[in-house]
Symmetry: D2
Subunit: 329 residues, 4 copies
C-alpha cells in the first residue's frame, strides 16, 4: 500500500511536475473562477463563507446533508461527492476532522482524485499526520495536480472573522496561488517548506502550547497553595522567565484575566478533545522520527486522561481545574 | 526540633512584633549605617559591591578566606563569623547556597542569632525551601528582629550590573526598609506577601521556566526532524500560542539566536545543577502542600538525569543537546 | 538545628556506644520486663496487643484518649506522655503517622529523650524519612541509648494476625534484642543494615509497588480496549516477563481475581493516601541523594492527583478505575 | 487506501470464509507438505531451522541474499519472492522487522497475495501494529486465505532451542492448524482471541515489562544510594510486593544475579532499540484506542532517549546504567 506507492512514484515525478507548473500559470490568470470546498463543519462553514464574501463562487460538499443545506442557503453550489467538486473546480480547499477522512476524501471511490483536472491546486487545511499529507501529495502529483497542506491555528471565532493563521507546506512556486485564496480567511499565511511542514509547524506549536498550559496550571496551583495571590503570581511570572502565552494571554486560573475561558467556567475556546487529538498526532510524528518528547508525551497522557474524566468538551485550560483538589472530594 | 519551635513561638509573637516595629522606625532614619553581608560567592560578591558603590559601609563574612580576601580589597570590613556581623550591623543580607547553610548561618553556634540586635532587619536572598524561611523567620522574631526572604532572579551578570529582580516575602510594613537596600542591586523589587512567598514566587517561576525550556527543546527537535528550518519554526512559535520566554528570548537551538548560551556551546547562563536544585525545592514544596505537578516533577527528573550524564555545568538550555541523537552514537 | 546537631555528635560517639553495648547485655537477660508502646492507631493497637499475647507487660501512650481507653481494657498500663513511658520501660516501640510526629515523640518537651534510661532500646516502626531516622538515632545515642528503625509492610490484617514484615536498620549487635520483640508481631524480621536502611527498604519496595500497580492498571486497560479478555491477559502476563505482584497477586481489574480490593469496589487494602505519603518520602530521599526516579516520581504525581479527585480512601489499586473512561462522562 | 479497503471487504466476507474453512480440512490432512518461511533474520533463521528439524520441507525467502545463502545450506529451497513462496506452499510463516515490511511482503508487487492459493494459512510472527494485522487479515481473507498474527516472546536463544512463546490471534477454528507448526518452535502457544489480539498481548506484555524494568532500575539505584546492599535489597523486594520479573529473574544491577545481561556488561538479551520499537507500537495502540498510559508513555520516551545516547545495542536492562551517575562525569 503506502510503502509501495512511494516507490513507483519517484520515476513519474519529473515529467508530472512540469505539467503542473504550466497549469499553475493558467490558474493564476483565472482568478474568481469557482473554488471547491469540502468539509463544512464548525470551521469549514465560516471559512467557505469568507471565500464567498470575497467574491469567489464556491462549489461545496459535506457528508452531512444538514451541513450542506445550511451552506447552500449562503448561495453556494452543492455537489454530490468530492469527485464532483473536482470536476467543477480546479482549486479546492478541504477541511476535515481526521487523517482517515482526508484519505477517503482524496483517494476514496468518489474521491477528488477520481475526477481531478490536471494542474488543479488542492489545499488541505485539516490537521492530520504530516506523513499522511506526504502520501496524499504523492497521489495527487501522480494525477498531474498540486497538493499543499495548510492547517490553521485560531478557533471558530478567527474562522468567522477571517483571522486564521495558515501554516503552508508544499512546492514554493505554488505558494502565491494558495495565498491568494487563503488570505480571504486569514490574518497570517506562513510558508513553512516542503509538503508536510505546515502540519509539522501546527503540531509543534500545539505540543508546546499544551506543555505551557499544563505547566502554567500546575505552577499557579502550587503558588496559590504556598500562599501567593494568583493575580500577583501571574504578574511576576509574566515579567520573568516563566512567561508564556498560557500565563500572559490565556491564564487558566479563574479571576486572573477577563475574556478567557477560565473566566467563563472553561466554556468555549479550544476543547480538550481537540488538544488530545493534536497531541496524538505529535506523538505519532515523534515516534516515526524517533524524537524523544518527554513533556509532550506526558501532556498527551494528561489530556487523554482528562477526556476520560469528564473534561472532554471543556476548554483545554481546564487542566487547572483537573489538577486542583475537588471541593466535593 | 522544628516542630517544637513552632509551638513555643506563637505565645511570644505579639509582644515581640511591637518591639520590632518600634526598631524599624529607628532603622529607617539611620540610612548609610553599616550593612552586613554574609556569603560572598559568585552572586554575593557583586551584590555586596553594589552596596558599597551606593555608599553603604559593608561588614562581611564568608566561610572561605579567599572570598573574604577578595572582598576586603574592595574596602569592606571582614569579620570572623555571622555572629560578629550581627554585632556590628543591624541590617544584614545573606546569600547562601542551600537551606542547610542558611540554617547554620542563622541558628548555628556562631550564627547571627547569637548576637543579633533587637529590631535588626535580616534579609535572606538565598534560594531555599519556603518552609525553612518560615522556620527561620520564627526564630528571628523570637529575638525581637525581623526576617524577610528575598530570593533573586537574574544571574551573575545581573548581579554585577545591579539588575537583579528580588521577590520579597515578609511583614509588609518592613518592605520599604528592605527595598531601600535591595534597590542598590536591583532592577525590580517585588513584594509577594508574607514570609516564604518570595521563595514561593522564585521556585514557581523557575519550575515554569524549566518546563518551558524542556518543552521548547523537544518541540524544536521534533520540528527539525520533521523538516522545518529551526529559525522559521522559532518564528512561527513566537507569533503563535506556543510562544514562551525559552522560545523567544533564550532559544536553546544553536543558530537561532545570538547572545544566548546556545550560541556559545551552552557556556555561561544558568547551570543545570542550579536548575536541578531549584526544581528539588519546588518538588519539596509540592509534596508538602500535596499539589500535583506532573510536568514540574518530570522536569526535575530530567535535569537530575542531565546532572548525572555530564551536563551539570552547562547552561540549562543544553537540554536540547541532551535530547538529540549523539553524533558519536 | 539538624545540621549543627550532626557536628557536635561525632566526638561523643565512641564513649557512648560502649555504654550502650554493656546495657544491651543486661537487657537481653531481662526478658518479659515491661515493653513501652507509643502510638495506638489502626496499626499500633493490634501490634501492641500481640506483645501482650506473648506475655509482655505493656506500658503505652497515645495522644488520643479514646485510643488509650480502648487499649487499657486489654490490660495494658497507660501513661501520660512518651517521657513517662521511657521512665517505666527500657524497650520501647513507636508507631506514628509522620516524621513530624516521630520528632515530637522523641525530642519534644515530654518526649522519650527527656527520661530515657541509658542502654534503652528504642524501635521506631513508623514509616518516615530515613534522614529523620538518622537524626533521631544520633539524638538517642547522645543519651546512651540505642535507636533502630523498623518500618513494617503488611496492613491492618497482618498486624492483627502477627504476620507483619519488619525491615530493620541499626547497629547489627542490637538486632537480636529487637528481633525478640518484633517476632511477636511478625512473619518476617529482616536486617537491612545501618540506621535508616529499614526505612530505605520500605520506601524502595513501595515505590516499585506503586510503579508496578499503575503499570499493571494501564496495561490491563490498554489490553481490554484492544480486545483482550482481562482474565486471559492477566494469565499471559503472569507466565511472561510482564509478571509482577500487582498482576499475579493483587490484580486491579474487577473480575480477574477474588479476595482482593478490586473484587470489592476497592474497599480495604492499602489506601491511596498512604501510598501517596510513602511516594512523597521516596521523592524526598531521591532528591536528597540526587537519584533520578522518573517513573517513581510520575507515580507519586498520579497518586497525588487521585487523592485530589476522590480516590483518597480507596485501595491504591483503584488507579485502574482512575485511568478508565468514566461511564458518567 | 486502508480506510477504503475496510468497507468493500465486509460484503465479501461470508462467502469467502466458507471456502477458507473447507480448505482448512484439506490442509490439516496434508501434514509435512512444504511450509513457506519469509524473513530469515536473527529470529527467523533458527525458527525455520526448527521446522526443518521437525521434518517439514521449507520454502524460504529473504531480501538479503546472504541470509538466503546461509539458510540454503541447511537444506531448504530458496525462492525469488514472497509470491513464489506462496505458489509453492499453502502454509507460510512470516517473521519481519516492521509494519512496513509486513505490508510489502503481503501486498507488494511481488507479495504473497499475488499468488496465494485459496485456503492457505498465513501466520505472521512479526511484532507489528495490531491495526496493521487487522488490515492484512482483511486483504488475505479477500483472497480466500486465512491470516493469523502470532508474535513471539523469547529472544534468539529461545528461537534456537525451540522455546519461544507464541501469542496467537485469529479465527479460533484455525488455531489447531497453526499450533501444529508453531509447536515445532515453541514452549507455549497461547490463543488470545480474534485477529490482532496476539499483537495486543505481545505489546501489552512488553509495555509492562519496560515499566517494571525501569522501575526496578530506579528503585535499586535509589536503595543503593540510601545505603542498602543491592543483593539484600533485591532479596527484600522479591519477598515483598515490589517483586517483578525484572527484580527476581533479570535484575539490572551488576553483581546481583548471574547469567543475565547485567552480569555481562549488558551484552546479549533484548536490545534497547527493539524495546523502543515495541513501546512505539504500544503508544500507537494507546493513541488509537484513547487509552491513557502515563508510565508506558514515559517508558517509551526513556528508551527513545537511551537509543539517542549510545545504549541502542545494549540490553534493555542497561537503563540501570543510564540512570546512574557517570563515573567520567
Amino acid at each position: 500500500m503506502a510503502a509501495l506507492v512511494r516507490k513507483s512514484c519517484s520515476a513519474l515525478h519529473r515529467s508530472v511536475s512540469r505539467h503542473a507548473r504550466l497549469a499553475t500559470v493558467c490558474r493564476s490568470m483565472a482568478s474568481k473562477t469557482p473554488v471547491g470546498f469540502i468539509g463544512l463543519g464548525n470551521m469549514g462553514n465560516p471559512m467557505a463563507k469568507n471565500l464567498l464574501k470575497h467574491g469567489y463562487p464556491v462549489v461545496a460538499f459535506d457528508v452531512f446533508p444538514e451541513a450542506c443545506k445550511d451552506f447552500q442557503d449562503s448561495g453556494a453550489q452543492i455537489t454530490d461527492s468530492p469527485a464532483d467538486v473536482a470536476e467543477k473546480a480546479d482549486r479546492i480547499i478541504t477541511m476535515l476532522p481526521s487523517s482517515a477522512n482526508a484519505i477517503e476524501v482524496y483517494t476514496g471511490s468518489n474521491g477528488i482524485l477520481k475526477k481531478v483536472k490536471k494542474g488543479s491546486l488542492l489545499i488541505d487545511s485539516s490537521t492530520i499526520d504530516p506523513a499522511v499529507s506526504k502520501e496524499l501529495a504523492k497521489e495527487v502529483e501522480k494525477m498531474g495536480a498540486v497538493f499543499m497542506d495548510a492547517p490553521v491555528s485560531g478557533g471558530v471565532g478567527a474562522a468567522r472573522s477571517g483571522n486564521l493563521t495558515f501554516m503552508v507546506g508544499g512546492v514554493e512556486q505554488e505558494f502565491d496561488a494558495a495565498k491568494e485564496l487563503l488570505t480571504c480567511m486569514a490574518a497570517n499565511v506562513v510558508y513553512c517548506g516542503e509538503v508536510g511542514t505546515g502540519q509539522a509547524a501546527k503540531i509543534c506549536n500545539n505540543m508546546l502550547l499544551a506543555i505551557g498550559m499544563i505547566g502554567t496550571a500546575e505552577t499557579m496551583n502550587l503558588g496559590i497553595r504556598l500562599g501567593l495571590d494568583p493575580k500577583l503570581l501571574a504578574k511576576i511570572l509574566n515579567m520573568s522567565s516563566g512567561r508564556c502565552w498560557s500565563s500572559d494571554t490565556y491564564n487558566p486560573v479563574p479571576g486572573v484575566m477577563e475574556g478567557v475561558p477560565s473566566a467563563n467556567n472553561y466554556q468555549g475556546g479550544f476543547g480538550t478533545t481537540l488538544m488530545a487529538k493534536d497531541l496524538g498526532l505529535a506523538q505519532n510524528s515523534a515516534t516515526n522520527t524517533k524524537s524523544p518528547t518527554p513533556l509532550g508525551s506526558l501532556s498527551h497522557q494528561i489530556y487523554r486522561l482528562m477526556c476520560a474524566k469528564g473534561y472532554a468538551t471543556k476548554d483545554f485550560s481546564s487542566v487547572f481545574q483537573f489538577l486542583r483538589e475537588d471541593e466535593s472530594a
